[in-house]
Symmetry: C2
């Protein structure tokens, strides 16, 4: 029997490592012609002359199966000769640039300098690496997230990588002027299902929602919107999600994440052990195994989420 979701147009809002895992699961279940991944570009920055797009690149490498499975970011089989010369010469070493990864940054810098948009460049890179779902940056303009801490304001990567996300966050500043691309708007307008990946709600998803008019489209368009918890048992699978929730005055639990997204959601996906948090909650819940380290577990979770969404759409 063909499932209800078979011809659905599915959009996934994604940050880096958690977003890439979800995207790689969906890519195994959904016809690539019907799957769009919208990537956070709030982490992007220019470093040593090169435009770097950490979330786009993690998504690209993961979907192309050339990613480093140990780290979740960067490429498999990477070498570090360029960084060894940067170190020798006294250049900046706080942000690691692998040699293969540099090839991507050089190519993107070249194409952007020719006047191509980040959307066009990303499509070309996907084509070259055999990535068939559509991978879209949320915006073609720089939309830098600024992290305000007790130790001062940091550009995102200087806080995240340079400071190993340790300075406590008081506020996140997202640009007022961020605008989604026409491709992003069209994908959301046409979407039957939007899945918010198990990414950091503040650092990865809010910057996407902040790119006008994405938040409004999610609230208005009558598709099914689901989110997947980035927390299991109050702990982030990776990164500072739990730490940030506490610092920004939220409860660092799966239910805290669901409450944060609030009215955007038609349903929520959490770990089995966190299901009890939702006992008195109106929101439909899929409680399952959301730890998805490998391709089969990602495909399994994606399948369960699609079935859950179909059930919500039918009900």
């Amino acid at each position: 029997m063909t499932p209800l979701w078979h011809n659905w147009r599915v959009v996934c809002l994604a940050g880096g490592v958690g977003g890439a895992k979800m995207a790689s699961g969906l890519a195994q279940q959904v016809d690539p012609a019907n799957l769009t991944i919208i990537a956070n570009t709030g982490d992007d920055f220019t470093h040593c002359g090169l435009p770097i797009c950490p979330d786009l690149d993690t998504l690209l490498y993961t979907l192309a199966n050339v990613g480093n499975p140990e780290t979740g970011w960067g490429r498999a089989g990477e070498s570090w000769q360029a960084m060894s010369a940067v170190r020798e010469l006294g250049g900046p070493t706080w942000f690691n640039l692998g040699d293969l990864d540099l090839g991507l940054h050089l190519t993107r810098a070249h194409w952007l300098a020719q006047g191509r948009t980040l959307t066009e460049v990303t499509a070309e890179l996907c084509g070259r690496l055999g990535v068939r779902p559509r991978l879209l940056p949320m915006s073609n303009q720089p939309c830098p997230t600024i992290v305000e801490t007790a130790e001062g304001h940091f550009p995102f990567q200087e806080w995240f990588v340079g400071q190993r996300w340790q300075p406590a966050v008081q506020h996140l500043h997202l640009p007022d002027t961020a605008r989604a691309t026409p491709q992003v708007i069209a994908a959301l307008e046409a979407a039957d299902l939007v899945i918010i990946a198990p990414s950091n709600p503040f650092l990865s998803i809010d910057p996407i929602l902040n790119a006008y008019p994405i938040r409004a489209l999610l609230a208005d368009v009558p598709e099914v919107v689901l989110a997947v918890s980035p927390l299991i048992g109050g702990q982030a699978v990776k990164g500072p999600a739990a730490k940030l929730m506490a610092e920004l005055g939220h409860t660092a639990t799966a239910a805290g994440v669901a409450n944060y997204y609030d009215e955007l959601l038609d349903g929520f996906v959490c770990a089995r052990e966190d299901a009890a948090e939702f006992a008195s909650h109106d929101l439909p819940i899929l409680a399952t195994d959301i730890l998805i380290p490998d391709l089969p577990s990602r495909a399994r979770l994606a399948g369960e989420i699609l079935a859950f969404a179909a059930q919500l759409a039918e009900g």
Copy 2:
């Protein structure tokens, strides 16, 4: 006996490979505190987001003894992982960027983006690589050489590397606005001896002379000015010097080079086999072995040139 030139302040005007060979000879003979190398930056360009300074880098690597002795440019023990990724992704491959070399370009891009001048950045790189003579870019501003050919106008590297210097040159366009740095002007004003390296007169030396007021300083300041022929038996040791001389209407011989520099010179250094060309010439000549592939031969030639200059200064 201490030679007359022992305390001389020596300046060398240098392009890439030929300039680096001469500079490496002088660095073995002259107290580094008294030796300044002024590098052509007319070849510089921005590629894939990175500012590239081919002549400065060849000089830097050669003087630091980390250069590739096979090619004369780039670093020994280089790897090419980044370029393999650029190729995989369909990026520009006409200009080769080694992984170690990229470390230098990244470091320079970072420091320039911090607002440091190319002179400051070059001094820092020299310090890091243990290069003790002073290496100065002719200018801190971009001074791009444009090559006019029958096939159109090319930025220098696109003609030199991209087209393998094949399209016949009709004219070289040097910027009207090129200005030497204060450090370059001070070095030339204080110089006892200026040596024009065996570099391409049109592509490497003219851009330096064109940076105001270098040509005037060389003509006016009463130091000894010598040039070393880049041609032996009418052939360039490397590169398009002979080809260009013919295309631009000069005789492609050592005497042709001397005539081109003309009144700037107090003496000229040529290959022994070319001495006869100067039989009816007023210019003092040092005819010797000017093929200098290794450190000892470079030291030998530098010593002979310094002795020749001392003889001219005494006479």
